[in-house]
Symmetry: C2
Subunit: 367 residues, 2 copies
């Protein structure tokens, strides 16, 4: 067994990219003609107009992303980016930092929630070491893309240098380019990193202007005292310097390797025309940053669920998007995204397999 | 091809039944020991306690219903009960009455939403003619259990005689007993019947005391004028007589053949120990009536979704239950129940396949 190798970073791949969008080709607009055709077809199917609720715009979005009226979910891949956080030693999480590596081993062994859901739903699961503190044994499902061993403590210094942050963004894109088969058209984005909701809270604050306290939640399960400590630690970190002026600066000051890599991965997946299933709070923050770098990204994203993590609902509202599921999940790993995949598959099946009123000889509305 | 035959009603099958619970064996309490064991196991799995949100009590409920810590969804069956309503000619629906039979033909031909979802998810789909106006051609997936050709117009007389209503309740139980294989442990309940949200609104009003106007919604898509007409028609129907004093009386006055049959089917499925996936507003009304007849029924029910039909949320709140999905669907047919099945399967997989902290060597919470 060996870990999946990545080729050395090849800067020329990014030669035609805009300077601040992290090495990806620009993201094309989705195909509004396919969306319109899907909506026309949905209105002809044997059901009252709109009666399939959220499944109708979902099916139409998949058509817009796939640029066809006959979309499929082909070879879905889950990428779980994992990294450690210097700030985790300040008691901002209910779990010790060592759990990041332990859970990655659990993902690989098949015992974690995302492992179970991926297996059950035919999702090809890859774990990416974006910046785990520990050395991990090689494994055919583990991708070594370690930017550094854990971020620095953002209370006293930038979490990453700007070079490390740029490298993380590019590696995220590279993972998409090299790990995902061209035959795959759907990616689920997940994360694992003890302390990463602390990073995500600061990123959300910097990105949206929502008051910092409203961006901070209990993560894996802090009690009231822990939550107060987390808020205090993050306020101190934020006050360390003048507010960052760009997504890249924000990410290097307060981000995590896995979060930056998720941002790069979202950009790359969208530029490749893939459907992107967005998991919980931390992944949504990474995608929101990606949308700052390229506004078309959001059109490729399905926001799978609203997490129980405090700030996720406000962030989704800020983005103007509606999550599909509200199951009070707060696990990360891509589990919310995995739960939404059957809904996407169902929406596609309904669009493509239902009969029209004309086919079925069913009467329309009464006069 | 022939329709699935039902044996003649055999009253002695019901000899040991309580007089008002429609020919079913009493429903046993679910197994709280299995629920408790499931909750203990959930707390040992490699995730923060409660981090799987609603999936955790769902998995525990399935254990309680199945009386095991190792449940499965075996041979799920969808029963879609269809009937016509005399009141439909009074403009309480956006569609003409003939659509009930047309849609049943569409179910059988595979073109309807429930046909597509059942096929995609391995659900065995049966359609039951509970009281369709038209004669239907025989079909191997169509069960002839017609109580009468459409109900009477409840504005001027009881929708069913008490004998017809009793027969519908018993036939619902009989369909469960004779159509569903003993190897199946999960049933999805759905309905089709132009005008049946009008019936359901009056039943909800009689059952809950919620003001009638708040029980009335747009059904398949009435406009404001249609909604006002529906409310007026139902107020007239309700004022025809003194309020019914029992679930059976309520059903025969204002019910539909398919609704009464759903009530009988829910009782029979629960008494057989099956997991019952409850679809939208009309099915929830039928289940609420079943719960009046035997209070244990609700413990077997998973409330799949909250429909966009106006009153469904209030009815679910009245029952003290939380739906799994909120997708603004309002189609009926069992489509909401079918959308929830993957969530139930996922909850079971997580409970039974995830590693514990001890198995995986993952550290617990920080001190």
């Amino acid at each position: 067994m060996s870990s999946k190798p990545l080729s050395a970073l090849v800067p020329e791949r990014c030669a035609d990219a805009a300077s601040d969008n992290s090495g990806c080709r620009p993201v094309a607009a989705v195909d509004e003609a396919s969306r319109a055709a899907a909506n026309r077809r949905l209105d002809m199917l044997t059901k009252p107009q709109g009666a399939l609720g959220r499944l109708e715009p979902l099916a139409a979005q998949v058509c817009a992303v796939s640029r066809t009226l006959h979309p499929t979910i082909a070879q879905p891949v889950a990428l779980v980016f994992a990294g450690d956080h210097g700030v985790a030693d300040r008691g901002v999480s209910a779990y010790p930092r060592v759990v990041t590596a332990q859970m990655v081993m659990n993902f690989l062994a098949g015992g974690a929630a995302i492992s179970v859901l991926a297996k059950a739903q035919g999702i090809d699961l890859w774990i990416v070491d974006a910046g785990i503190e520990a050395d991990l044994p090689v494994h055919p499902r583990l991708i070594d893309a370690k930017v550094r061993r854990s971020t620095r403590d953002m209370v006293v210094e930038p979490a990453m240098t700007s070079e490390e942050c740029e490298r993380a963004l590019q590696l995220g894109a590279k993972v998409v380019a090299e790990v995902i088969s061209p035959a795959s058209n759907t990616v689920l984005l997940g994360e694992m990193g003890i302390g990463n909701t602390a990073s995500a809270a600061l990123l959300m604050h910097g990105l949206t202007g929502v008051p910092l306290d409203d961006c901070v939640g209990r993560g894996t399960g802090l009690d009231d005292r822990g939550l107060a400590r987390k808020k205090a630690v993050l306020a101190t970190a934020w006050a360390r310097r003048a507010p960052p002026q760009s997504p890249s600066e924000l990410l290097s000051e307060f981000g995590g390797c896995e979060i930056a890599m998720l941002t790069g991965a979202a950009l790359a997946a969208a530029s490749r025309g893939m459907l992107v299933l967005v998991d919980g709070f931390t992944v949504t923050v990474a995608v929101a940053l990606a949308a700052q770098l390229d506004r078309h990204v959001l059109d490729y994203c399905v926001f799978a669920h609203c997490s129980a993590e405090h700030a996720h609902r406000a962030l989704l509202a800020h983005l103007g998007v509606e999550p599909l599921l509200n199951l009070d999940m707060r696990l990360g790993e891509g589990t919310g995204a995995a739960m939404a995949l059957p809904l996407v598959r169902a929406a596609i099946a309904l669009l493509t397999e239902m009969a029209t009123f004309e086919d079925a000889g069913v009467s329309g509305r009464a006069a």
